[in-house]
Subunit: 306 residues, 4 copies
């Protein structure tokens, strides 16, 4: 395994087209584009890394997998009354679908869906308390107490977050929110600004590869059924309107973030985190996707066959 | 396995809400709604059936998997210049997406995409010749020379096929078609009217469960890579705007048809065909989906975990 | 008046950017782009022309005003159950609005609406009979028995009419049509292919400028109320998604055709026809619009004030 | 004239279906639905009223005509780089069109367009200063120094204005705004909350009926050309997706507000204000529209003919 990922890291280092770093959040635009990291965590506890696997990056939308998990813990299957579970066929920040479907987001991984999930988690509390709860959960699943929020990124998001503010006010106009729009947005922007490295992120995803139990701690995070379902949502919707492409090329449930990270799950086999800040036009990590495609090919981990 | 599917068949027989038989094609509207069949075909050649597994039904859109396979054989990856591979987020017969994307269908399993695939297969030939080729291919993968087209259904489709005619003319207006619209539509309506039973259909899908080789004949149908990719397309787009729901509940690549059939693939493990003519509001077999959900739960075959 | 339109013709002759002749119908693409004609017909019978006012051109969508008038005569206000009367905000051949509104066209002047009007006029007759009726009506309002259909243009339209065929089949799929799609399309393509000159066209529009009575013959064509309503529809919807622009710049009810003609009505004052085959990007005559803008300014005929 | 409007007022009083008072702004929901007022102001200074013509009501979107006039005074025709001038075909608060056209509103009378106009007027000033300027302009055109903003309504709008906040943030996300979103929204909500009676409103519209000059003061407000153009915009877009219907039935440029007011202009002949708080499903005053239809019929003022 170490050999495989060293090879992949070497191949990625030699690529000339590394995509474009996200520019719409000023803090993210400053990240050096040539960085690359990959970590593979196995259910038996083994962890393999290549590249700058200890460098922190902004996990951005990958956090949506964990807030969804938390929200399902609070609301159970009733959550699906407020968020759909179909791919949207639209970009991550599209508002067209919302108007056509009365403010109900198509799935929890487009921005509108994750903002709704933030509203669900808040349950009348202050954003500060809720963010503490989210952070605690991230530290629990990653088995690492040092994980925290990058306040500079969070501020940067708040200042440039008009599109997300638009989505939130739009849903609020249907009376769908239980908390003030500003609290929901504050919570959302902050959980997107959690900083992690690939080791932490691969560890955090292990419960999804291991029928709901985090093997490093032995704690059950979710039921086997719920782990499967979160995996299915990641495969169907984890890469916005590039989800079909990711399934076609990689064949693993995964969730990307505009910080350049991707967390992928090979059920029963491994949890993987990659990071390469350059994005493709849809907003998914360019080299990250290529690295996962190589890894899936070399390991035969695709869920669609050898 | 026989025990499992007998149990499933018994459970399905006791359901009172069996959905509604498709009404927009007169021939399909006459099918008795209480029928149910399931067949599981394993790579080792074993075949298990319950219910009326020898009763022929109209495979309808399930045929799209096989015409796609044929078209990929002719055009290779260039096929993707003419058809996308993302879920559409829209109903099977939506034309909105086509207008917004200049007549390029989102994927090969919505009607517009499959009509485009029919144009690709035609390659200037007469529909009759092309249909003979499609039938020959179906007989080859199903290892059964008796498979044929139900001409009554085909005629019924032609007469009520205004929506598909609209899609075809719309794409033709962008200059996308190489063959006359009427030839393309004739081919499409006829391959949707192929009649099969669940034994034939489960056998026909075996190459997708077995890395591209049909184990009953030993013939390679497609490369392992292509088998995986077709499976990924089935998972992402095989149930129209209910694909997310099917992945969430069943967790297997599958393709449904409005005749009430579903073909599903558990990569490396089995090919499955179910048939129950009653549909849910989206147009997928209601009991068929429930039967597959039960089967996946009892066997642990979901691609998303045990 | 003669002085005014001679000036306008002279100004138009000096323009270097005359727009682009419609290319999607081969017969229209052959028309020489530098031609220009204008005719002003007054209720007192006076007729003023400049340019090639006796040259025949394809009236195309201008015919929709007359088929609407005929259909209102047959069905009365019940016509509005099948066609709306709001501007569409979409291009003339858009199908998106149709899908969102269950196959009911927004107004009678977009293609889908005019195709529906053709279905209304047919009333179970053969296209040949209906076309004879339409021609007879055109000759009646234009007071000229020589008006006829350009069969070459009609054939050219039929051969390249996939977009209109798509619209027609789409509406038929909702069960909205009373006649076969091919009959409806044949009728539509042929009435769009009527050839007229600006003298004939300005005369044909006089009843709309004169409270429903054609002053050259003395015959009442429609009631005063209906004349006003047809004028309102022309102003709101007569130039597709350029209707607002035309109202803003010209301020007269008018209907354009991709043959380069525009018929405009100054209620109580004049009926005007212009022809210049070069189109703007939306599909309206470029110089025709400019000529009408000049005319409205010089005469103070805008309905919106001096 | 007095006789005509007394008759109309009497007829309206006898109607049983008066529509529904706007409910989404709590302050508006409290207005008594049976009230009715009409005022006709003639260029010669004569003013005729019937009903409660001195009762103040919230002019709401009618204010958009005046902010547009102000903004045109500041920016001239460059304003059209930021706002279109086509009917939208969508409801007043639709966001779909904005996404498809990169945040540029279709016209200045849908909410998104009027919010953009508010941004144009602000020019870096404080909302307070800008609102003082708007009020001063309203007093100038209405020739009445008592006109002011109903602060209760403004507050009510701010509290329930999520849909408008969504539109504003959406446009801001394209970088289209020169002022902070909150300032723009504050300005917009306040100018919509101006309270006027029908006498004031009919007087305020006189410059549009009189080629740009307010005859009661003798002051020129805009050029004749601009008066015509504002009238054309009112006719095309003044009643949202009911603009075609209003043109069809009434035939006058007009602008409605959800407070139940309508200001209409008969170019060269009269300025008219009606008020009846009950709305039709599209959001236009139900009895107000009927009253104007009657008035146009009895006076022959329709711009489309006698």
């Amino acid at each position: 395994m170490q050999q495989i990922i060293d090879d992949i890291a070497a191949q990625m280092a030699s690529k000339t087209d590394k995509g474009k770093v996200a520019s719409y959040i000023p803090q993210l635009a400053q990240v050096a584009p040539e960085q690359f990291a990959i970590t593979v965590a196995l259910p038996d506890g083994a962890i393999y890394s290549a590249g700058c696997a200890k460098t922190l990056f902004s996990i951005q939308s990958i956090s949506k997998v964990f807030t969804l998990t938390l929200a399902l813990g609070k609301l159970g299957e009733r959550l699906w009354n407020r968020v759909g579970r179909e791919p949207s066929g639209d970009p991550f920040n599209s508002i067209v679908q919302l108007e056509h479907e009365n403010g109900k987001p198509r799935n929890p991984f487009i921005n509108a869906g994750a903002i709704t999930v933030a509203d669900i988690i808040l349950q009348g509390h202050q954003p500060k308390e809720t963010l503490a709860e989210i952070l605690q959960f991230m530290r629990f699943v990653a088995n690492d107490d040092t994980i925290s929020i990058d306040e500079k990124v969070a501020r940067s998001e708040l200042e440039t977050g008009d599109r997300n503010a638009s989505l939130a006010h739009f849903m609020a106009s249907f009376g769908h929110f239980e908390n003030p729009v500003d609290s929901v947005l504050g919570t959302y922007f902050h959980h997107c600004s959690i900083a992690m490295n690939t080791i932490q992120l691969a560890t955090a995803g292990l419960f999804l590869a291991n029928d709901g139990v985090n093997p490093t701690t032995g704690y059950r995070v979710v039921s086997p059924k719920r782990a499967k379902r979160i995996n299915s949502l990641m495969l169907m919707c984890g890469h916005y309107d590039g989800s079909g492409e990711f399934a076609f090329r990689v064949g693993l449930p995964g969730k990307s973030g505009v910080g350049g990270g991707i967390m992928a799950v090979a059920p029963g086999k491994a949890s993987i985190a990659v990071w390469a800040p350059g994005l493709d036009p849809i907003g998914n990590s360019k080299l990250g996707t290529q690295a996962l495609e190589l890894l899936a090919r070399k390991t035969g981990w695709s869920v669609f066959g050898q």
